[in-house]
Amino acid sequence: METLATLKTGIDTMWVLISAFLVFFMQAGFGMVEAGFIRAKNTCNILTKNFLDFCMASLGFFMFGYAIMFGPGNGLFGLKGFFLMGAESPVSIPLFAFWLFQAAFCGAAATIVAGGMAERMKFQAYLIYSFVISALIYPIVGHWIWGGGWLSQIGFADFAGSTVVHLTGGIAALVGTIMLGARIGKFNQDGSPNVIAGHSIPLASLGVFILWFGWFGFNPGSTLAVGDGSLIGRIAINTNLAAAMGGIVAMALVWKLFGKPDLSMAMNGALAGLVAVTAPCAFIEPWAAITIGAVAGLLVVTAVVVLDKLHIDDPVGAFPVHGVNGIWGTLSIGIFGQKALGLAGDGFLYGGGFAQLGTQLLGVAAAGLFVALSMGFVFKMIDLFIGLRVSRDEELKGLDIGEHGMESYAGFQVFSTQ
């Protein structure tokens, strides 16, 4: 019997590690999406940010993050296990495997912000931001929901992190991009927006495919155990269907609104579906995943248009994808979730009334507010001491030369008249 138990732990560990590797690879996905959606003159800069934030997140989450998120403490934060000393795994798999999986999630939350603040944020400021969010902000939200904190105690559900990862990253990106202000030339004096086209749709497409692929680790891996395989299977199909429907609906809507099937928007739609289904993926039927993905597709296109109207310049749609659909995905548990599939109470459609929906709403509001206020404070401090935004000259010349002294495409003559 003992060997059987060991074998089970071994299989579970392998599953979680493979998932951790997939989630790590999402870092490449984020890098390619963001690089593709911005101008060539800032590509080296955004990739350096993507690269370094995973490095910063790894160390920040090792030193402080894990202890705050999963250490024993109070309802608000954990207090034990700094530098993993005396830290324990809350599940049956070994601590180090669990840590790596969680650290990859932490890196994903941190890297979302790079896109929203792209093409104008100082590199130094970004390094400091990425350490703070992974060592403090993300782990506190994580503790509330996954670490035994107050939200988990009142029955709030977020299976794989629509709120923990995506809402956190999305709200931080929104706060950051508002504080930075729009890129030079994004809005005319009469307030109408200009197109600042991304420089490589092929790179962005590759990035979306990598993210979709990585999401098969993000959601199914969050089971943290293989079991009889049925739960992993359910989550995997739900993840896939929501992404597919999100892509279709976003494409259809943008086609109807603006006359052409815009690939960049269709891809944002697939990502929106993935973000939205992340919270409910374990608790719903496939048809519900399709519905959730469809709504996500509508929401992402609407949010992109509304942000332009509000003069908020989010170059890659970080808030529409991760913020808006992080909220929607988390709330959708209260509508489509089922007690029979492991949820605390039935969702609205299954006769559970508004109880679960209310809890979800409270959790989203609390997490969103906390991230907005704390990240607002962090960005403000960075702005005071180092400065958040590069100079006008540097922005016009491009951050590749200004911040890093090198071009992304040496040997090519890339001319930018914006």
Partner: protein
Amino acid sequence: MKLIIAMIQPHKLTDVKKALFDAQVYKMTVTNALGCGQQKGYTETYRGVISDINLLKKIRLEIAVNDDYVEPTIKAIIKGAKTGSIGDGKIMVMDMVDCIRIRTGERGSKAIG
């Protein structure tokens, strides 16, 4: 008839175009160009090695105008391109011998339109 050639900063093209349109100058040819003037350029570093980049990216504008449009065009280019710092560019004006519209065979002022 004059041919006006202007070298401007790439990121000022939008402003210059707008100023030209406001001055009712709608016809132009735009080319990417490399060049250097008083600006010393900038340095790049690649894997620890420093290299000087002397030739900077510029935009070259060519506009053929009738005589009464020369001053408005020059003013518009300056209005759009001037920042007051080194590197704003130059405007060169030269006599143009003739101009022919290929489609109709019109010549001279008529061809400029």
